[in-house]
């Protein structure tokens, strides 16, 4: 009996020990997060003010200057990518949800998986080879194409997953009213899944808005405010990268400021997605 009791104590101690270990390590893993957020806020907030948001960059040596062009550039490039990715992504997602099996379904699944795992820098190389090189000019458009390719798999899979959750009875109800298949999909199934698709899209935007690698040799960056899609355009991640690798104190400060704005933007898209997911949710 003594033997068993001692054994039990040992086991219970080990159990307690592992639990404590798991808790401590989990807690520790959040340290970098707070560390990063702390620095971002500390360094960032100090650099962000009205003139930082509303002015263009100034040359080295002059103080002041802001990142207005980069904010606008990021918004333009991200919107353009979204506009390009949504029609193809949603349509392909419908195909996956409706067909379920077949050769093209397998190919499409494989392709979205590959695209999802492709490093963003490779997509930048591709956009360079497809657009920048033939056009002989860096452009916002080529950057958007690279980001759209990044966004595509997110939209395809969120569309597919949302539509798969819609009860089949809804489709039957529509078909039994004599509604043609295409109208059933467009007017019954798609509206019922719209919240999931929008959430997926917002998460996709949040993911691409902070991407730098695909823009390095496509949108390239520019110190000017530019609305021409076929000219180089600035973006917040590019500003952060370029300023951080510069040797100037003032630019480092601005890099933190730009990071702060970027993280707020990304967070907003994430929160919007979460909020939208519950707000637009459709009960069946």
């Amino acid at each position: 009996m003594k033997e068993i009791e001692r054994n039990c104590k040992k086991r219970l101690f080990l159990n307690w020990f592992v639990q404590a270990l798991v808790f401590v390590i989990t807690g520790l893993s959040l340290v970098p997060l707070f560390f990063i957020l702390f620095y971002l806020t500390k360094q960032g907030i100090g650099s962000v003010n009205w003139s930082f948001l509303t002015h263009l960059p100034r040359p080295v040596g002059e103080s002041g200057g802001g990142v207005l062009n980069a904010i606008i550039g990021t918004l333009i490039i991200a919107s353009l990518s979204t506009i390009m990715a949504i029609p193809i992504g949603v349509t392909a997602g419908i195909y996956l949800a409706e067909k379920k099996t077949g050769k093209l379904v397998h190919l499409l699944r494989l392709s979205t998986d590959i695209l999802q795992s492709t490093p963003s820098i490779v997509l930048g190389v591709i956009a360079y080879l497809w657009i920048v090189k033939p056009a002989q000019s860096f452009s916002a458009f080529s950057g958007s194409v690279a980001l759209a390719m990044m966004m595509l798999p997110t939209i395809v899979s969120s569309t597919e997953e949302t539509l798969k959750l819609i009860p089949y009875t809804l489709k039957e109800a529509s078909l039994a009213l004599g509604v043609p298949y295409y109208r059933t999909v467009l007017k019954v199934i798609l509206p019922s899944g719209i919240s999931g698709i929008l959430t997926g899209t917002l998460l996709g935007i949040a993911r691409i808005a902070g991407e730098t690698a695909p823009l390095l040799f496509t949108a390239f960056g520019s110190p000017y405010l530019n609305f021409n899609l076929f000219k180089p355009m600035n973006a917040l991640p590019l500003v952060i990268f370029n300023y951080a690798s510069s040797p100037y104190l003032e630019w480092w400060r601005q890099a933190w400021g730009a990071s702060f704005i970027l993280i707020v933007m990304v967070l907003c898209f994430n929160l919007l997605a979460k909020w939208g997911a519950s707000k637009w949710k459709i009960k069946f």
């Binding site: 009875t169 109800a173 009213l177 059933t184 019922s192 009960k283």
Partner: protein, 252 residues
């Protein structure tokens, strides 16, 4: 004899190679309630889904033989036209969650892109909801989503949606199997009231329900039509042994 409206001749239905209906010859009388009953898996739902050709949408679904709606051969028509002439109500209430009650009733018009005037739409909504005995309960919030209604109300909304298309026949696929007894009684009363204006075919595995509402009853077993006749006659003096066994609760 009364007019016949839905007639099947040598009807066979398949799922891939699997034959689920064998040589069904059935004549469904106009403006009457016909119940189709039988144990689970006997093909009663499939038969119903042949009438509006939903069966063909199931994977491997195939129909052979003939189905007549009055003088028109349903199998030669486009399925879409068939479904506009024959309404259907399903086991579980399935109002469209994105639409208001109003829009749910005229969904058949909206989704099909059939243009109707505003007053006409109002008229259709009111009469359909009245026919479905739902008007008094929902008339004050027609423009709210239908999903907050109770199960029974939702099912009556689905009936109104089907009636709005002025169908020649209404197919009910175990319409009360997901409802509580009170809502079930309500729907049964409604079905009886409706038979003056529309032919009703109801699938049920509840023998009592068939006895309560149906003028005629068909008994299906293993994909075959075993017996068909006036409900009273079928219940009191079944000609086939299998019908008798089923009614006495031997199987299913």
């Amino acid at each position: 004899m009364e007019d016949k409206i839905l007639i099947t001749e040598k009807l066979y239905a398949y799922y891939g190679e699997h034959c689920v209906l064998k040589d069904v010859n059935l004549e469904i009388p106009k403006f009457k309630i016909t119940a189709i009953m039988g144990p689970s898996g006997c093909g009663k739902t499939t038969l119903l889904r042949c009438f509006n050709r939903l069966h063909e949408l199931s994977p491997g679904g195939r129909i052979e033989g003939q189905i007549w709606l009055g003088k028109t051969n349903l199998l030669s028509l486009n399925p879409i036209m068939v479904r506009r002439k024959i309404g259907m109500v399903f086991q579980r209430p399935n109002p469209f969650p994105t639409m208001s009650i109003y829009d749910n009733v005229i969904a058949g018009y909206k989704l099909n892109g059939i243009k109707i005037k505003r007053e006409e739409a109002d008229q259709i909504v009111e009469t359909s909801l009245k026919k479905a005995a739902l008007w008094n309960e929902v008339k004050d919030f027609l423009h709210r989503k239908g999903t907050f209604l109770s199960g029974g109300q939702q099912q009556r909304l689905c009936i109104a949606r089907a009636l709005a298309m002025h169908p020649e026949a209404l197919l009910l696929d175990e319409p009360t199997s997901a409802l509580d007894p009170k809502s079930t009684a309500h729907i049964e009363e409604l079905i009886i009231e409706l038979k003056d204006s529309v032919t009703i075919v109801i699938v049920t595995h509840n023998i009592g329900q068939a006895g309560r509402v149906a003028d005629y009853t068909a008994f299906l077993y293993l994909g075959e039509l075993v017996e068909f006749g006036p409900t009273e006659r079928l219940f009191t003096a079944p000609k086939d042994k299998r019908t008798e066994e089923y009614l006495s609760g031997k199987f299913g």
